[in-house]
Structure formats: structure tokens, C-alpha cells
Symmetry: C2
Subunit: 331 residues, 2 copies
């Protein structure tokens, strides 16, 4: 048994070839929910959906989000309506007293859907609509995610990190922004001053997550701050990781990064944007997989390989390195 | 100034040619909201939307609902997901304690969106999404409808009958069904035993509706029970109609009907399914427009014309008859 912690695109890309090394039926994926939003009445879980769509063989492989070939009829009409009615676009954050009306899980991340600021495809929207309807019928996000995994015929088990709301709020020189407002609407332009995981102090990992974290854990090359950070902000997750073998793949090659906002975010939270900084952010990691060109010296076992992941063969190579690293620490 | 009461397709079809007789800028349309549903988190207002889409020149003229040429990508995927996940379709009515969570206006008509039992087109959905988002931002249904009317560039004023929830519940030999469950899902098959307008005793017409009802009123050939009934169930509407000139077009030709469920519904509420029955249901009507072949003798002034409406020219002919009937009662 092995458990992957997944957020953003780093770990999902690793999962693309992990099945060659770790049997899917013995693999659990715990997904970040810190960057979820409720948009226009529907709970959107981008990091769970990337795993769902990948597992279902429908992910858009150019973007690593959304469904390949999806249409955007509703999205386009939302923009037409807003423009014709003189309604301003951009993230329309609902007032505090409206944040949880009807759904506690929406807290700190509820946006009106007028001129929808994130592009939601038409088939993609059906997933959010089904998810939200199941929540409204009284099921937990964990139970709902299992149903969706059935619908996409996933061969791994997919779990949200928590059934409680946690919202990644990026504090910037332009004020606090929900992660999606920072990343999608503002294109990571404002300067990051800090990152907050609102709700994390009261949120719990689910029993299913606690059980999954009693197995060896692989942390893929996801962004440590906003893809992994919300999970690590849960004390229950930190405690569990401290007592199980953990291998982490650095998303950096020394101080260079393949893609994404990790460097700005690491700097923003006062961490060095490098493999060394990642190692300090993951005190619970027992071993690391680093790029062959990454000469960083760490105080823990290291397995080196080419860590660039462009396709499933790359992913299988990095997964094999993770397996060797787990062996090195006796898992 | 003239005010039309609209529900179903009868009055909207009349509006298709009414502009030839009544200046659109001096015309108000009050729409039935008794058959609204909240479906998958979005408030769907079929009778308001028929007027919106007709006014915007985009209505599907074969069905007289929905947008011409609309796609149904989300709807199809909702059904695929539900089937793949083993989730039962059909109306999934949310439990009582969930009916108003977050939105009072949803009361008695909130359905989960799993395997969505009404077909919502992709562009159509953008209307419901924008409407619901504006409601969530704190606007009344009246204000929201004005915004949507702007978006569709309507030349008449469109008002919902009330900003309060009223739900048309059809009591049948198979138990109580929300009107849309009876009409769309069950295709009007169960035997009608009674029709209830839940919430009507506490609902108020808006100030804008009261003002509109101080002008001469035209009731088109809509179904008296479920298209007009919810409006007439509001004491404020009945009082207003009693003191203004009202002309009604019978949807019957004696005891025959052009289309729709009006006959079954009239019988179900103990009324004669005929022009005579309509006249008794509309005690506030001061004159009637009947079909040229309708020999019903009424105790109020009658103008006769061919009342079948297949196109805008037909509609203009019936509208002209309404105008003559209003003149006959001194309006």
C-alpha cells in the first residue's frame, strides 16, 4: 500500500506513470482541497478533479485541468449576460454573512457566478453540479468523491484531505486574495506577503485519510506552499506524517523550477525557493528524490533521477525513484 | 398602459403579436412563479424565462421553452455521471430541513441536480446561474429579473408575481407532486385530485405588481389552474383585479382545448373544463375574448375572433380582440 499527497499538477503528473511501479489497487491519493471554491452555487475542487479526470482518461493534457474537448457554452453565455446587463466581471466574493448560508463547506471561498471568473467547461460543470447536489443530499465530501471516482472508473482510491472547509488565502501587496483569485484572475501578479490556510486550525483529516497516512507516503513534485501546504496545515496530517515513511520529490532543481508559482510563493512565506527550502518545509520527509543535476546536499537519504515529467514514461521513471527511496528508508 | 398576466405558453404566444396593438413601452408582463424550481442549486423560473427568451428573440419556437439551438452538454454529462455512479434519476426532492438552507425563495421546490430531471440547455443554464448569483448577492427576484430583461433587451417590463416563494403542488392519486415533477417527469399522467399553491397565504405581490395591476389587465389563453392560479392565490392580486378592468381570453373553445393540461387540471380542482368553467374561475374578469366557434353564453361582454394562435399574425388578431373587449368595458 502507498499513499500519494496530491495538489496542483505536480503529483497528478507523477501518477500518470506511477501505476507501473505501485499497483493502482493498492494506491490511495489524498487530494488538496485548500484551493476549492464555491462558484455560482457549485463546489469546484480543482485538485480532486485533476485526479478524477486523469484517472478517467479524460483530462486535458495540455492544461492538466478540465476535460479534453469540453465545450464552454454556459461560460460564454455567463459573460455575454453580464456584459449585456452591465454587471462587472472578476471574482465577486460574497459577503461574510452569505459565505456559509446552506453549506458550511463553502466558507471563505464562496463567489457569485456572475461572469464566472474561472473557466468551467460544460461537462466539467456537470461534475461540480453532481458533487454539490450529493453534498446537499447530506453526504460528506469524502463519500461524494467516492461516487465521482466510481463515475470516472478510477483504479486508485481518491480522498479529499478533509470534510471541513480550509481556504488558501494569499496575502499580497494588493490585499488578501483567495488562491484562485490570485492564481486564475490575477495571474499570480500581486506580490505575495504571506499565505494563510483559513480554517485549518479547526479542520480535521478524515478517518479515511488518517488510515491512508499509516501507509508509506509519496509527496510528488507539487508546489509545497499552496498544493501541499493546506494538508500540512492540519495538525492531524503533520502528526501522521511524522510516524510513517515519507518520500518527497523536489519540484526544484537546486533553485530552478520546471513550472508554476512555487518560487514566488516560497519566497512569500519566507522560505528559500529551492530544494534546500523544500527539505526544510518537509521535516517529516525521510528521503528525497532529486533531479540528477541537483547537487543539493541534504541530511536525509537521496535518490537522483531526471525529475522532469513530460509524459507517462518520465512519470514511471520518477515513481521508480520514489520506490527506491522508500526502500532506502525501510518502507 | 396595459398589464398581461403570463404563465405557461398561452399568454407568451399572445405577446408574440401584442406589440402590434399595445405599445411595448407601455406594456407590463407579470409572470407566474408558482412552477419555479430550484434545481441543482439554481433557481429556474420557466414562465419568466419564456417571456425573457421570447423578448430576446432567442426562444425555441417549436417548444416555446428554452433557447433555440441551445446545446445540452452539461445535462447529458449529468445523466452519464449518475448512471456510471449508480445514482437514481428522477426528481430528487431535498428533505424539508434542506429546503430553505441559504435561500428562502427555494422553499417547497428544491431538488438536487443529480441526473437533472428537467432538460436545461447550456446557454439556458447561464441564465439560471446568473439569476441565482444575483439573488445570493442580495437582490430581490424583481430586481434580478430586471437585470435579465436588460441582458435580453426586452421592450416590455417583466415582473415576477412575487418575491416570496409559492410552489404549485399537484395532489394526485400517486401523492403530492411539485408541478414540474407532475408535468415534466410524470408527463401529467397521475390523476389530479387537487392543486395547492403552497406559501400563497403568506406571499405578497410586489409593489411593482400592485402598481401594474392598477392598469387594465389582459389574461391570455393560459391554463387557469397552474399558469394563472398561483397569481390568483395571492389575496393582493385578487383584490387588485377586482378594481381594475380585466379581459380574459378563454383557452377553451366551449369544452375543447388547443393544447396543454388545462382540462385535467380544471377537473382536478372541481371546475368544469370549459369556457363556462373559466368564466366562473375568473369572477373579476369584466369581459372575455372567445373563439368565433365558441357559443358559450356568458353574463359579461364577449368579443369573438379566431383564438387559435400559431404565429404572430394570429396573436395580433387576438390582441386586437382584447383591445376591443377592454374598450367595451370602458378601459
Amino acid at each position: 500500500m502507498v499513499t500519494f499527497l496530491a495538489g496542483g499538477t505536480g503529483t497528478p503528473k507523477l501518477l500518470d506513470g506511477a501505476g507501473e511501479v505501485f499497483a493502482p489497487s493498492a494506491t490511495t491519493v489524498v487530494g488538496n482541497t485548500g484551493d476549492d471554491v464555491e462558484l455560482g452555487g457549485h463546489l469546484v475542487c480543482p485538485d480532486l478533479d485533476t485526479v478524477l479526470f486523469h484517472g478517467g482518461g479524460v483530462i486535458d493534457r495540455d492544461r492538466w485541468w478540465g476535460i479534453a474537448g469540453d465545450t464552454t457554452e454556459t461560460h460564454a453565455e455567463l459573460h455575454r449576460l453580464a456584459e449585456a446587463a452591465g454587471l462587472e466581471g472578476g471574482p465577486r466574493y460574497l459577503p461574510a454573512e452569505r459565505q456559509t448560508a446552506g453549506r458550511d463547506i463553502a466558507n471563505w471561498r464562496r463567489f457569485s457566478g456572475i461572469a464566472e471568473f474561472m473557466e468551467i467547461g460544460d461537462r466539467d460543470r456537470a461534475v461540480h453540479l453532481t458533487r454539490t447536489s450529493l453534498l446537499d443530499e447530506g453526504h460528506s465530501l469524502t463519500a461524494v468523491t467516492r461516487r465521482l471516482a466510481d463515475a470516472f472508473d478510477l483504479d486508485v482510491e481518491l480522498l479529499p484531505m478533509s470534510d471541513d472547509p480550509v481556504a488558501t488565502i494569499v496575502h499580497t501587496d494588493d490585499g488578501p486574495l483567495h488562491f484562485q483569485a490570485y492564481w486564475v484572475h490575477r495571474r499570480a501578479d500581486p506580490e505575495v506577503e504571506d499565505v494563510e490556510f483559513r480554517g485549518a486550525e479547526d479542520a480535521e483529516p478524515t478517518d479515511a485519510v488518517r488510515e491512508a497516512l499509516s501507509e508509506p507516503v509519496v509527496i510528488g513534485p507539487s508546489n509545497p506552499v499552496t498544493s501541499l501546504g493546506p494538508m500540512l496545515a492540519l495538525s492531524g496530517v503533520r502528526e501522521a506524517l511524522a510516524s510513517t515513511p515519507v518520500v518527497a520529490v523536489s519540484p526544484f532543481v537546486e533553485d530552478r523550477i520546471f513550472s508554476g508559482p512555487a518560487a514566488d510563493l516560497m519566497r512569500g512565506v519566507g522560505r528559500e525557493p529551492s530544494t534546500a527550502g523544500v527539505a526544510r518545509a518537509y521535516p517529516f520527509a525521510d528521503a528525497f528524490v532529486l533531479d540528477a543535476e541537483d547537487g543539493t546536499e541534504l541530511d536525509r537519504p537521496v535518490v537522483r533521477t531526471d525529475t522532469r515529467i513530460d509524459d507517462a514514461a518520465d512519470a514511471a521513471r520518477v515513481a521508480a525513484a520514489c520506490d527506491r527511496a522508500l526502500e532506502a528508508v525501510g518502507a
